[in-house]
């Protein structure tokens, strides 16, 4: 039965994909081009970074692969968290799942098929980028066999492990929600993820590792396993990176053992997940469907009452979107997690002190912080702004048949998002220069560019939200992990790279002159123009989406 389910799923994916491709040809070609450009850029960046670290910085093969392990761990944690959300909406709160429950299919088969569905649905970008990154790695070391085997027996099992951990956590949370409040459980889960990521990063501090490895110079290509914290052995990402180290250094036995461990962990986690699902999925499904968010609206009679006249109509659109947002657990949960992460990151920024002698390196460090800030804004935009138009969904009949100006409806969505993200961007801008000495000159530049990001990114994301609008899908998480959302993420990252390069040139000026960094007026005008242009293009696409035939 599971096979039939998956066959149908693949056929649908293939057929729908084909129909969608031909129906929206220009859109599809643009998507393919964006993916291709990003895949190439990823390939080039990984190859360049590897070449720089090994040839220029001479950090040695061991340290390089420990940095790879760190990156893979972060990657593992991100996939795992993302899968908790995607699995929740796909496996538990989905109309197709509801339909499958009416058929003579065992619950565990439904669980596994929907698990694979959620895994495939949100992984297109990830798989493309991973393949490109591994190709970049192989490009430098000149060993494609290592890369192909690595993707199949090291990276793929790692991704499966991460997805399984996410699904297991989700099942445990749903089961535990019978005794504990969901808020406490979500908080607990967030703390577990935050603590484990923090401990791992502290234990594997790259600066400390660098110092320790350099004590063995010139034998820094050798396997210096004595330096590894024992806790690392429990992280599949560690073994995944080890595979690449051993395979590249020609130690086939080590590579085989490492890959076997990653595969065994994936198999074990998958087995545990299926066993857990066999015992508890059906119960967890009903908890998620009925009990988890059981609540009654009491005396919520007045949110649309205050105000008068035309203004009242406009405000009621804002209030409606706000209420729908705060009452949708998948939205508030993800928002709370992202805001908590931003809070932690900001606190760290204010406390951090970076002393680097070289103006190029210090400017790069500052630009990296700026880029990371921007990436957080892009993530917020893709997750929450992209689905805004699609979320009007099948209730769009009401807006379209009533005397609401669609322009007002559009503004009620984009303007609050821009306001919020500009403030977040501005605060990031204030915090970004604080780890550096002589940073005061950078504050204006950094805040300005941060705030501009807060206008440009949601606008760009909204352009794609409009171009790829889907009124049939009503789940925000699925909308924000769709194909169009991925394209919007890639394009935003492209813009982020351009903005970062401008920030870098300003940072170089500042750190060269000992603190002064006047805002370059012509650049500021170009930025202002770009922000206004992005907003108007977003308006164009947004209105077109709102006026589309229903």
């Amino acid at each position: 039965m599971l096979r039939e389910l998956m066959n149908t799923k693949f056929r649908l994916l293939y057929l729908e994909g084909g129909v969608r491709f031909t129906r929206h040809l220009s859109r599809s070609i643009f998507s393919v081009l964006t993916f291709a450009v990003f895949a190439y850029l990823t390939y080039a960046v990984v190859e360049f970074a590897t070449s720089y670290l090994i040839v220029q910085a001479k950090i040695g093969l061991f340290l390089y692969h420990r940095l790879l392990a760190l990156a893979l761990f972060v990657f593992f944690a991100i996939i795992s968290i993302a899968n908790i959300l995607v699995a929740f909406v796909t496996i538990f709160r989905n109309s197709e799942t509801e339909f499958l429950h009416t058929l003579p299919i065992s619950p565990v088969e439904i669980f596994v098929s929907k698990f694979l569905d959620s895994f495939l649905y949100s992984s297109a970008l990830m798989i493309v980028l991973i393949l490109a990154a591994v190709a970049g790695y192989a490009g430098f070391f000149g060993n494609p066999i290592v890369a192909i085997v690595g993707v199949l027996f090291s990276i793929l099992p790692l991704i499966i492990s991460a997805a399984c951990v996410g699904a297991i956590m989700l099942l445990l949370v749903l089961m535990a929600s019978r005794w504990l409040s969901i808020k406490a459980l979500v908080l607990g889960l967030t703390l577990i993820y935050a603590a484990s990521t923090y401990s791992y990063v502290v234990l594997n501090n790259p600066f400390r590792l660098f110092t320790d490895v350099m004590k063995y110079y010139p034998h820094i290509d050798k396997y210096l396993g004595v330096l590894d914290p024992k806790l690392d052995y429990f992280a599949p990402s560690f073994w995944s990176a080890n595979y690449f180290y051993f395979a590249t250094t020609g130690n086939l036995w080590g590579a085989t053992i490492s890959a076997s461990i990653v595969c065994a962990v994936a198999g074990f986690l998958f087995y545990v997940m299926v066993k857990l699902a066999q015992r508890h999925y059906e119960e967890a499904y009903w908890v998620a469907k009925h009990k988890l968010f059981e609540r009654r609206v009491k005396a919520l009679a007045d949110p649309f009452v205050q105000g008068a006249g035309r203004r009242r109509g406009r405000i009621s659109l804002l209030r409606r979107d706000f209420l729908l947002f705060i009452r949708e657990p998948s939205q508030t949960f993800h928002f709370a997690v992202l805001m908590a992460l931003i809070g932690v990151f900001l606190m760290n920024l204010f406390e951090m002190r970076i002393y680097l002698p070289d103006r190029f390196i210090i400017s790069s460090a500052f630009t990296l912080i700026y880029a990371f800030n921007s990436f957080l804004i892009v993530s917020l935009a893709v997750r929450f702004v992209y689905p805004m138009l699609s979320l009007e969904g099948e209730t769009m009949w009401l807006m379209r048949s009533s005397p609401v100006k669609l322009q007002n409806l559009f503004y009620a969505k984009l303007l609050p998002a821009i306001m919020f993200l500009s403030i977040v961007g501005g605060v990031f801008g204030l915090a970004a220069p604080s780890p550096f000495r002589n940073f005061h000159g950078l504050i204006t530049v950094s805040t300005l560019y941060g705030a501009v990001g807060g206008i440009v990114f949601p606008s760009v994301v909204m352009i794609f939200g409009g171009a790829f609008v889907d009124y049939k899908e009503k789940n925000a998480v699925r909308i924000s992990s769709s194909h169009g959302a991925t394209v919007s993420l890639l394009v935003s990252v492209g813009i982020m790279v351009i903005l970062s390069s401008v920030v870098f040139s300003q940072a170089i000026l500042c750190f060269s002159s000992g603190g002064a960094a006047p805002v370059d007026e012509s650049r500021a005008w170009i930025l202002a123009f770009a922000a206004v242009a992005a907003f108007y293009v977003a308006r164009l696409f947004g209105l077109r989406a709102l006026k589309t035939d229903l």
């Binding site: 009654r296 009621s316 009949w397």
Partner: protein, 236 residues
């Protein structure tokens, strides 16, 4: 109140509605009948401005609904065949929201909400979220929202979906009542008995063309059986 002029909708090479014209006066209850796939919902969606016509125009109270949508839709209420609503709002919040988008004052909204909620018997459910409503209760809520701002033109696609006999009775008497007060009603239905009971005029669409238009009396003669016979002849 409603005027369709050579209304046409094509989807690629397929013509869903072909050159449909009609006029509906204030106080009329117009039944728009036809077999599945004939073009009823497409026509209704063009009236409610959910679909843009390929050719022709829709005038609501003399205003072109596709050129001046906000102005024209002040007079319109639309009830779709499937009542998709904001699941996370309560019934009362939904009705209040509808009152604001139609620009009703607070006082008028409060009186009207009480009135329509009682008529359609949704008052006990108003505090609950719509996600808890049954199909029939949703339909009652949508109908209550449609009557809320006392529209001049009521466009209803399959009004009886999910309604129990009492709800159906309420709907019929309410439709007759607003028509007496001067509103025009345009509705599609597959229930010929309903059309016979409430409609004053009838249009029949078949294979995208309007094949019959006339008074209910002319079409049905003495009863539902005659209506069924004529309907089957016209749509054969």
């Amino acid at each position: 109140m409603l005027e369709l002029n050579s209304l046409t909708k094509r989807f690629g090479s397929f013509t869903a509605v072909n050159d449909v014209s009609m006029k509906i006066k204030a106080g009329e209850i117009y039944g728009f009948l036809g077999p599945n796939g004939a073009g009823k919902t497409t026509t209704i969606k063009m009236i409610a401005t959910l679909l843009k016509p390929t050719a022709g125009s829709v005038l609501i109270n003399g205003i072109d609904a596709h050129k001046y949508p906000e102005k024209a839709k002040q007079y319109l209420s639309y009830v779709p065949d499937q009542p998709f609503l904001y699941e996370k709002l309560s019934g009362l919040e939904f009705l209040r929201f509808v009152s604001t988008i139609y620009g009703m004052t607070e006082d008028r909204a409060a009186v009207s909400i009480r009135e329509v909620s009682e008529i359609f018997e949704v008052t006990p459910w108003l505090g609950r979220r719509i996600e808890d409503y049954s199909q029939g209760m949703r339909q009652r809520l949508v109908l209550a929202a449609a009557f809320l701002h006392k529209p001049k033109l009521l466009v209803i696609d399959e009004p009886m979906v999910g309604l129990d006999p009492k709800g159906a009775e309420t709907f019929k008497s309410q439709v007759k009542s607003v028509a007496r007060e001067g509103a025009a009603i345009f509705m599609t239905t597959h229930q010929l008995s309903l059309a016979r009971e409430v409609c004053t005029r009838v249009g029949i669409i078949n294979s995208s063309r309007l094949v019959y238009e006339g008074s209910m009396q002319e079409l049905s003669g003495d009863g539902v059986e005659e209506l069924e016979k004529r309907y089957l002849q016209l749509t054969a």
